[in-house]
Subunit: 219 residues, 2 copies
DNA sequence: ACTTGAACATACTATCGAGTATGTTGTCAA
DNA sequence: TTGACAACATACTCGATAGTATGTTCAAGT
């Protein structure tokens, strides 16, 4: 019986997760298109051919839904780069690989990454109700951790003499602006296959490492 | 009498412009902080220690106010770079100068530039009431013209052999992401003088031209 | 002095959307 | 089979805010 109960529980949990993911995907698209506050939950519901009741069954508030999309977007980023951080390779190659993985991830999860950006802004400007503000701060720490990973990779490559920059804060910000660019300007074309997308990503990575003073050869 | 009438008219026009500018500055700060739709006109009014009545005396709608801020932001950009475009100088130097001027301008007019960004997004995603949509398109054309100026400067520098890139659209987008970065991440410190701000701008420009393959010497 | 109109402020309306309360359906366990 | 509960849908409430209608002030023209 214990087994039966547990399997049931798991299946249900799985169903719930699926439903929440569907809601999040609709929400991410709406938030991306119109921004957090301009998006009504009725719109989100309509996008997934459903109703507001379903959303409120899974989320206590609009803010919680937003935060879940935010968190999920960050998780996608971590999953994209963490395997590479553990691999043993020359710093400059790791840098390239991490940048590439990030760009590919943001292109694939564009809507979610846009929400992440909105979340960062929200914290910066201190909007959003006070009760959810705490979770927003927590998520911002997650973002800082993510940023720290890049800092490390940058410093390693710097120490190896492959790149050079003056102020690491400005350099890192500029790199992020560059590799996050597709979130803003990338629009998927019809019939655009994986190869073409990779070509775009490669060019972004090229510009990002050039920005860091990489010349293509180790002098 | 004609003279008197005209001088009166001018003074009044000047007063009106001043009042509108004050409203726009408050609006720009609010829109930057909370986004277009999350910003109420009561907030904007409060920020300039005034009331909604004053805003509606000068603007027919919230959208019109937004569009005026947008337009003003673009004008600021044009005024920053146009003198340089007319100067006679080597392409690479002109490129550097234009980038520097742009960065200084966005730092100085941060809130307005943020609104410009929101306006671009709005057009891209087709939000905003249909009647104002036309003017939004018009403003987007202004933005395209601005972008065209940079394209020209890039191509000249490319022809002179000072920089090189694969796809000009991606390169230009990346450059813009980089030099518009301060709109997102720059926060003015107290007691930060002009010199320090220029140092930040210079570093942004450095990264932007590096991104374009500039090595510092003409090979 | 008095009229006029610009430049506001004040007081109100009407709508939209977040949140809630309640109803319906299907599934599983006992 | 029935009771319970998850997973929704439907139907409401209520506060916030864009927009409007009206009142007030003051400076300039006559």
């Amino acid at each position: 019986m214990a087994t039966a109960t547990r399997s049931t529980k798991y299946r249900r949990q799985s169903d719930t997760d699926l439903s929440r993911m569907e809601i999040m995907e609709g929400a991410a698209l709406c938030f991306e298109a119109r921004g957090y506050s301009a998006t009504s939950l009725d719109e989100v519901a309509a996008r997934i051919a459903s109703t507001k009741g379903r959303i409120y069954h899974h989320y206590a508030s609009k803010a919680e839904l937003f935060l879940d999309v935010y968190r999920t977007g960050m998780m996608m980023n971590f999953q994209a780069i963490e395997p590479i951080l553990e691999r043993d390779m020359p710093p400059i190659e790791r840098l390239k690989a991490v940048l590439k993985a990030h760009v590919m991830c943001v292109i694939r999860t564009k809507a979610f990454q846009n929400v992440v950006g909105q979340g960062v802004d929200m914290l910066r400007h201190g909007t959003m109700p006070a009760n959810e503000h705490a979770e927003l701060r927590q998520l911002a720490q997650l973002r800082d951790t993510y940023s720290e990973h890049f800092s490390k990779v940058l410093e390693d490559a710097m120490a190896a003499g492959d790149i050079e920059f003056a102020n690491i804060k400005i350099a890192l910000n500029s790199v992020f602006m560059c590799i996050n660019g597709p979130i803003v300007w990338f629009t998927p074309r019809k019939g655009q296959d994986q190869k073409e997308i990779e070509a775009v990503a490669d060019e972004c990575v090229l510009y990002a490492i050039r920005l860091l003073g990489y010349t293509g050869k180790t002098p």
